[in-house]
């Protein structure tokens, strides 16, 4: 299983968060959340559906599969951990910490992630 592209990771994370917030997720919501146009989402969603990361049918709602949710949570965990580190420990302001975390989360391995979590736990 080749790992996910950055773009798929972003889509998964966005869908995951939208599911939490509002239950039902539409193409439009994802587009807004990621700052891309509708056709980009349509295409991504078709591919992710083929990859069994989400369930989706034309004009319908978007739902993570069990599989997809696992990945989404992983990505989000990386995001949260990085954000907290940047913001709460380094003191980087929220919006920059958010942006940097988004960019950096993709490269963060699970090994490093865990070390970072341990490190942060020790400090409080």
């Amino acid at each position: 299983m080749g790992s996910l592209t950055k773009s798929f990771e972003d889509y998964l994370e966005a869908i995951y968060l939208l599911e939490q917030e509002k239950g039902a997720v539409r193409v439009k919501d994802v587009a807004k959340s990621l700052g891309v146009k509708l056709p980009s989402v349509t295409e991504a969603v078709r591919k992710m559906s083929k990859a069994r990361l989400i369930e989706f049918e034309r004009y319908g709602l978007i739902k993570l599969t069990g599989h997809g949710k696992i990945f989404a949570k992983e990505v989000y965990k990386k995001h949260k951990t990085l954000f907290n580190f940047l913001h709460k420990i380094l003191g980087v302001n929220k919006s920059i910490a958010l942006k940097d975390a988004c960019e950096m989360e993709h490269g963060l391995s699970n090994i490093t992630l865990n070390k970072l979590r341990q490190f942060m736990n020790k400090r409080r």
Copy 2:
């Protein structure tokens, strides 16, 4: 000034390090260092030359311009700082720290970089 693509950042960093190591840099060296094929380097190098980041002529040597060197150093600084943090502070092993740093360096803003440096200075 749109900022550099990740790919350009990688090329700059590689060329910078190769210049240090061996003085003269060739297409082949860059290819080996980045793990890409020669034609990819030829193309990248042509574009970077057009963008005044390097000096290059067909079949010749590759040299960073003053401009290019500034960028290269910046990228490398991010890399080094991240690597040191991951390896020396978090205790991530070298090869993983190296790989993660490579991936994450691109997303690291200067603001966050500086906070990270301050943080690391305080700790010793």
